[in-house]
């Protein structure tokens, strides 16, 4: 096992073997990795070719017959491209599915903007009933996927090549380092850069790999008046939820994440993290300046 994607392939293959309700729908991406599972379960591992609208439509149809579809592709193809199918073939049909993406934000930096989807979580925020998991470590993937596959609801699991050094509790909002002056919420792979950026600062750092539904009860309990959000997707995606959670309390919010501007640059994920101010140095400058 070498990363989140491999953890997903292993876990999904196990689910296909263990539960006849499970189906996997692909659009060529990762099809090679699932060839052994496809040989064992040819009627439940369905690669529709490079047809992402059909991929999500098929998932809706499978769910209507009582199956539990897992849908997988690059984030821009499973979310951005198939958005209306997600809205209508799943949501409007009252059908569920587990969408699992790779290529989070700028994971595919060298491939350019066509292969980036910093807005995936924001797009799902326009729809009702989605649970969103953003694991920060490969060891968080299996449990999240198994729990999602056991349900009937709509779940998005956003995998990344960027990881923290250690796994943490992926649900709720968990304090990783206590402090006083502000609450810094790190989502998924943002935890390690946040810990590095806030070393020596008097702040509480809390982690979640489940931004939807955001654990607003814990947020209210942990937050004073100053909150910093650090998300690995579009900056400000969760600002609305923080504002609602603290609506009765004068507060300040700094929302950090991926910028909207299209950089039109290639390079590495590390480069993009730096350009978006999401590396440790950039985060420290933003957070300490704001405090």
């Amino acid at each position: 096992m070498t990363g989140m994607r491999e953890a997903f392939v292993d876990t999904a293959s196990g689910l296909l073997a263990g539960d006849p309700r499970t189906a996997l729908v692909l659009a060529d991406i990762s099809a090679d990795a699932f060839l052994p599972a496809q040989r064992r379960h040819p009627e439940r591992v369905l690669n529709v070719g490079i047809r992402e609208q059909l991929m999500v439509g098929v998932a809706g149809g499978l769910a209507l017959t009582g199956m539990r579809p897992i849908v997988h592709s690059y984030a821009p193809f499973v979310i951005d491209r198939a958005y209306e199918q997600i809205k209508l073939d799943l949501g409007h049909q009252d059908a569920g599915a587990v969408l699992v993406s790779i290529g989070a934000s700028y994971d595919a930096a060298s491939a350019g903007y066509t292969h980036m989807s910093p807005g995936d979580v924001a797009l799902l925020d326009t729809l009702d009933g989605w649970t969103v998991h953003v694991p920060g470590h490969r060891d968080e993937v299996a449990g999240l996927l198994r729990a999602a596959a056991a349900g009937d609801d709509r779940v998005y699991i956003r995998l990344s090549t960027l990881e923290n050094r250690a796994a943490h509790a992926p649900r709720g909002l968990t304090v990783v380092r206590g402090g006083g002056r502000a609450l810094v919420v790190a989502v998924g792979p943002m935890l390690d850069p946040v810990l590095a950026a806030t070393a020596g600062l008097d702040v509480t750092v809390a982690y979640t790999a489940t931004p939807r539904p955001l654990d607003t009860a814990a947020l209210r309990a942990l937050a004073g008046t100053d909150v910093v959000l650090v998300e690995p997707y579009l900056a400000g995606t969760s600002s609305r939820l923080v504002a609602e959670a603290l609506a009765d309390r004068p507060h300040r919010l700094l929302a950090l994440g991926v910028g909207r501007a299209e950089l039109r640059r290639y390079g590495s994920p590390k480069d993009h993290a730096r350009w978006h101010g999401l590396d440790a140095a950039g985060l420290r400058a933003s957070i300490s300046g704001w405090l």
Binding site: E43, R44, G57, G60, G61, T65, G66, M67, L88, D89
Partner: protein
Amino acid sequence: MTTTTTGAERLPALLRRLTGDEKHSPSAYSTLDVLWVLYDRVLRVTPATVDAPDRDRFLLSKGHGPAAYYAVLAAKGFVPEAWLDDLAGPDSRLGHHPDRTLVPGVEIGSGSLGHGLGLAVGTALGLRAQGEQARVYVLTGDAELDEGANHEAVAYAGATGLGNLTAVVVDNASATHGWPGGVAARFHGWSSAVVDGRDHDALAAALTGHDGRRPHVVVARVEPKW
């Protein structure tokens, strides 16, 4: 209507109860004969089996102009006839596009064109994976085929030989740029039949004319819309 089956004679009266759909009425009636033949002679589904795993599925992809659909569902007892009197009212379960969560017997909510075929392919795959012998029928229009999503489903079903799927294309020549060479020619890998969409016996034969090894398309030609 050219039919000898009892029950169809009530459809005009049921349709008259559905008011307020003037914008879509020509297309609504283009589907009436196909829908009647499906529910009267072809589909193995009744009001008592709308949730049975082994029922045949009918998916109305072309969700606009559903008056004929609602009239047939009422005639066959899936919905109370009284529902027809308040089409798209604030408390009505019947809107100008159907919602599967509101109407017994309605398999999908539709309206935005180009979604039914993909859902039908997934339904057919789900039934097959679970060993069900049921068949999936999906109704589209010739103009609806303009939507590219249809062609993803048509190509995949044809290439993989999805034998428990039948598409019905009601062709009233309403596609803006037409389908030179005919609609059926777009369904590679499918068996096909082109029939008079007002001829009930021809429709019934075509709608049961699948070979089980390939998906089947029935092009039901009716009067041009324009």
